[in-house]
Symmetry: C2
Subunit: 781 residues, 2 copies
């Protein structure tokens, strides 16, 4: 069995995709309602697809340029194979397909959810949640299938089982695989940032002219920007979030695999025995298997999510979702225990050089650790993921103290509302960062950086479930919009509102999850980067290194500024277009003439694609400048590797802080505003919609919109992509792996290598004993 | 001469203080106007002194607690002498005296400026600027005198001239001196944070009820909070800023002295010759001499600041100030060249261990450097200080693009105004951070960390001038208030308005200077910390170290949140009191009855002192927890030193970013609002005060107030104090200096040591040759 595992892993992905297809067909088979509903749904779907098409066109250009750059890297570095370009393209295509699946199912499910809500709430939940599940399984299935099949093929071709070339050969496999991850994350950048700009431009534009100037309600079909607004929900909240988590999911697995390879190397250096089970690659396969099992448990979890009572309220719906989510998480945790026990050797080692690495003493954290301690790291990952989600809910939740405080401060005007929101967002960084620091510390103390990467992997394992819960919100939101635009009976909107309200909470939790996962992923990638470059560490007491830490810290702030002002510019363009249509197209307000929805969709699309260029370039180019510019001033490649590492750390630390700050401030403002709909008590007096305090809260919400839907979520991509770019250029920096030990072009030797490997598996064979004359040397990277 | 220099340095301080006394008497001799003016001025002065008294009472308690803690440290660590407590108390007292001088002269000068403005603008400028100069000279004079006299006494008592014990003995002197700096910075914490809360609570409270609810103009004597508001200007802008720069000034000199000591050690390790000139302590005395010369050149610079034309406008006044400022800076730069040439050996060395320090290769940045390159570092410091001030002015200046953009965005409401302001603040981090990174890099490449500390010293040398320019603003602002309250003729207010307007620009520049100096100071302290602990570096690739980088990054964000919500709470209390007085005291609005000004002053005072506790504790306690808690989990002192170092770096990087972001956003909002007073063109239409756009801008300004006057400036103190606390506890961490080489209680040996020292100066003496059998060993810390 263990010899075959490498080929079994893609099957988990296929199972996920198969079940996804089954569910997608079920959703499609549901009734899509009357003609008016179908027509509106078609508008939204068209708009969404138009955006995707425009985005893909632009991405095709990007892929060609990035592919050429990767080609140059593979030419310059011995251990980087040209197949990295192929992997990159596959990664980009898979991510795009995942986004496409999500958009299609979301736009299919929204209208069917509206129709289902005519019958009953349980039915509406079933349709919307199934839509979300399709999205979740699509992302997870494609990720596991894509990553594991490429890995299997490359590993089978290039790696000669336990031999002294194993580490170098496997490094080449993983470097190529980094291309897949880079492709996925690049698409995520454009989907998240572009989508974030799109959705807020449409939203703000629709609100400012429609609600404020023309005085018509939200989602009114007379508003030319209303279709763009609904498209935006799909583009930003569905496709953007999906691409974000697809990227995190793949990057986490990749980083854990790289560190697994390092752990294998450390094992060979420190232990007399060889790793033979699982073709000697148990620690590398483990994170992928956990992810695969996560798909299965996510599917099982979804089966728990149902309600029976048509008169159920938010609490019951939320309870059903929680039940399913925790089932999946706990099952994954339990399974991890057995899988770890099965796949890892009993004892693992922290470094490939015994206890002391270039004069730095690692003995204080334990030079070796048992496989049971790897499980502790996994538990830390699951617990911290859960707690950070919980904290996000606290800071942004309806009726909780922070939101109540913002409501209270709305009574003295917009300024005090804004101050309260900003300070809530800032304050909300405290506990998550403490938790996060404890997680780094704890997972590392348990099992080194491999432990941190497995903590991240375990957290990400139930991505399918997380996305299902997360994507159901926008579907329900859209269903409500369609119900409004199609003028369906009031109880339909009431039912979709219950789902939408739960969706807001799950969206907040989902954002917390996305941040936590991005942060842990970045850390794992950071660790992988250091092993790839072969530097001793990153010493910020060197001035140039410290300078880069400053620059890294600044990038998320400037990125956020760019994203926010992009939203402002795009919204202005939208406002002008809506005003023009109201003025020039006669009869819109009387419902006699239809507005030109397409024009607004086009404006949002163009603005999003244009405005995401600059932050995109900032993200991708800066690490390359930081890594290579200093060479012109005579710094060695190793120095540059250290500087780039500090840059990555700066981006990660600052990015995580700004992500939490912006997401939570935005979420809290949003819910403070929503609270006025049901009425809130301020200084003992009930206050409702339309009051001055409510108006102040609306101002706060408008400020919070780009925070929570554009710049905040973009931070995730920024930190991951920064670390991935670092990882991909790593072989060009530092000592690299292209030096003495592994300088031979490994592929040409594959056949000979295999022979060597086979002999080595006999453990006492002559070849192996000749090599082990200098065991510490030959195994060190 | 060179033997005497150590005793000449305090004379520079005395000259500054003497000239200050002369100027203060001149100000006092000016006419203080009519009885009404005198009465109002007396109210403000009483309020200011009441705050100071209450603050000092509280600080006395703090000093006792902190003194006890220092006593414990001096007991636990051999090289830390109990005199550190005395130095700490002197530092605190000196800083308090400096604040007191500033407050007294500011409250004396404001009323006299108002009276002088009745005569002419040149006279009004002369009185207000002379008031500012008194403040500047008081701060700089006390700092140079205090630091250099303590140093001279301790060095004369404890240090035996060039000997192999020089480094250890001098380290003890400098550790004791760190107490002086810690005392100064502690007072700064309370002055800056408490002052910031005070001024904004009074300001917001006075505005919300007076301007908005009661509809009476600013500074109207009928408003009960108006005296508190004017007191606030002095407490926050004068005393707070003064204490901030006093702290930076002292800390910078200290850090440069510590690194100078390290440079001397490095010289002895690497060079065959001994340093004999300046009693072997040239590199230590250099930064103090530069500071002393800075006082003289600042005095010379003030002589250039005058205008002749009574009909002069802002531009002429600004021009006069710039003229004086740049004269002082350029003279200091030129003098530095000769002083460096005179005091430093021709060649200096980067590290005390030749080229390689514990396996880390420093050879890439040049193991040795000439004294001429130290001058390059000085120039970098002066240029970067100037450029960062210039950039601050750009981002917050009237008529500049960022402010114009905020104005444009005010036309669509408060929300878009806020978004524009926030993104301006964020975007404004880009260039200053790049510059700052270049400065770190450049100064280090030129002359190592000693270079960075001298760059900071050179920048800080003209502190007297910077403060004079900075403090004149609030004096003029207050003069305007007094003119308003005393109902002086209109042209008086017009003249003070010109000065006030220039004062706003200089305040922005001053804030940029304060941030840049705090950041460079923190860096220099950080470097001093590493040499004190004796660790190799700070490797953020160790997970616990990285975890602390995260926690450090989070602290400034949480600190800002605390400061902002403190302002909110205090302002609420003020609003309630003002409302009460309007309701309960009959005849206030008709001017028949005087409001109870004292009650409002009391509320601001109490709130400020209460609310500054929590952020104060956060600042001081967290580094101690970070440094010592891990020991309970078995981490070694050296590991803890590394973790604390990462924490310091995290606080500095994040703190600098948040300081720039908050100061510039707040400044830009302020000037966007001010622009409406003269009228602004939005979309081709002139828009004035009272318009909807103006109201939106007022909202932005209110949000920006705590940003720019409370949380933003507090960041400076946070980062400096964090690094100072680290420096003071450093001997308890890391390898320390209390190990083998310097374990002997050095003081008891002073006499014998002196003999030894004298013999050594003969350079070929027997004692010295015996010691140099193992030169590398005996000189290493």
């Amino acid at each position: 069995m263990d010899e075959l595992l490498i080929w079994i892993l893609p099957v988990f992905g296929i199972i996920g995709l198969g079940y996804m297809l089954y569910l997608a067909r079920w959703v499609k088979a549901q009734d899509a309602g009357n003609d008016r509903m179908k027509k509106i749904a078609a508008y939204v779907q068209e708009g969404a697809m138009a955006f995707l098409k425009a985005e893909y066109r632009m991405l095709a250009i990007f892929v060609v340029i990035a592919g050429a750059a990767l080609g140059w890297i593979s030419y310059a570095v011995d251990t980087t194979h040209w197949l990295i370009i192929v992997a990159f393209v596959i990664g980009a295509v898979f991510s795009a397909i995942a986004g496409n699946i999500g958009m299609r199912i979301a736009t299919d499910a929204n209208v069917r959810t509206a129709e289902a809500a005519r019958t009953s709430l349980p039915k509406a939940l079933k349709v919307s949640f199934t839509g979300g599940t399709v999205m979740g399984l699509g992302v997870a299935g494609l990720a596991v299938f894509g990553l594991s099949i490429i890995f299997a093929i490359l590993a089978a071709s290039w790696v000669t089982e336990p031999s002294n070339q194993f580490y170098g050969q496997m490094t080449m496999v993983l470097e190529t695989l980094a291309g897949f991850s880079l492709g996925a994350e690049s698409i995520a950048l454009f989907a998240r940032v572009g989508g974030g700009i799109y959705t807020k431009a449409a939203d703000v534009g629709a609100d400012l002219v429609g609600k404020v100037e023309a005085g018509i309600p939200e989602d009114d079909p007379r508003n030319p920007a209303t279709i763009a607004d609904n498209v935006g929900d799909n583009v930003g909240d569905v496709a953007g979030m999906g691409a974000d988590l697809f990227g995190s999911y793949v990057a986490t697995m990749l980083a854990a695999m790289v560190l697994g390879n390092y752990a294998i190397n450390a094992y060979h250096v420190n232990s007399d025995a060889d790793l033979t089970a699982f073709q000697g690659m148990g620690p590398i396969l483990l994170p992928v298997l956990i992810a695969g099992l996560g798909i299965i448990f996510s599917i099982i979890g979804t089966l728990f999510i149902r309600i029976k009572d048509n008169s159920a309220k938010e609490r019951q719906v939320q309870g059903a979702l929680n039940m399913g989510n925790w089932s999946a998480i706990i099952l994954t945790g339990i399974a991890s225990y057995f899988v770890i026990d099965w796949m890892l050797p009993e004892k693992l080692y922290l470094t490939a050089i015994e206890v002391k690495l270039n004069g730095i003493d690692y003995s204080d954290v334990g030079a070796s650790f048992t496989s049971a301690r790897v499980f502790i790291a996994v538990v830390i990952g699951l617990v911290v993921g859960g707690l950070i989600s919980f904290l996000t809910e606290y800071y942004t939740g309806l009726g909780k103290r922070p939101v109540m405080n913002i409501i209270k401060n709305s009574s003295t005007g917009a300024a005090t509302n804004i101050i309260a929101g900003l300070s809530t967002g800032m304050m909300s960084t405290f506990l998550p960062i403490i938790l996060f620091a404890l997680a780094i510390w704890g997972a590392y103390a348990a099992a080194g950086f491999y432990g941190i990467s497995l903590a991240a992997s375990a957290m990400m394992a139930t991505t399918a479930m997380q996305l299902a819960i997360d994507a159901f919100g926008p579907i329900a939101d859209n269903a409500g919009g369609i119900a409004e635009m199609s003028e369906l009976p009031k109880e339909v909107r009431e039912r979709t509102d219950i789902l939408d309200s739960v969706g807001n909470t799950t969206a907040a939790i989902g954002k917390g999850f996305a941040i936590a996962s991005a942060a842990l992923t970045a850390l794992a990638l950071f660790a992988a980067y250091v092993t790839f470059t072969g530097i001793d560490g990153i010493n910020i007491f060197k001035a140039p290194v410290l300078a880069m830490l400053f620059i890294g810290g600044m990038i998320p702030v400037v990125f956020s500024a760019m994203a926010m002002s992009s939203v402002g510019k795009a919204a202005m363009a939208m406002v002008k277009e809506v005003r023009r249509q109201f003025k020039e197209i006669k009869g819109i307000m009387e419902g006699k003439n239809e507005p030109e929805y397409g024009k607004c969709v086009e404006i949002s699309t163009d603005a999003a694609l244009r405005e995401m260029m600059l932050p995109g370039i900032l993200t991708i180019i800066t690490p390359i400048i930081v890594g290579f510019l200093p060479m012109l001033f005579g710094y060695s490649a190793k120095d540059c590797a250290e500087m780039l590492g500090a840059y990555m750390a700066g981006v990660t630390v600052s990015g995580v802080l700004w992500a939490i700050f912006q997401n939570n401030a935005g979420g809290a403002w949003d819910n403070a505003k929503k609270s006025f709909e049901a009425g809130v008590k301020i200084d003992g007096k009930m206050t409702y919609k339309g009051s001055d305090a409510h108006k102040a809260a609306v101002t706060g919400d408008t400020v919070g919109d780009p925070f929570k839907d554009t710049s905040g979520p973009s931070m995730n991509i920024l930190i991951k992509l920064t670390c991935l770019v670092g990882l991909v250029v790593a072989p060009l920096l530092g000592e690299g792996h292209s030096t003495e030990e592994h300088a031979e072009p490994v592929i040409e030797e594959t056949e000979g290598g295999e022979n060597e490997g086979e002999e080595t598996t006999s453990e006492e064979g002559e070849t192996s004993s000749v090599e082990s004359e200098e065991p510490t040397f030959s195994w060190i990277s």
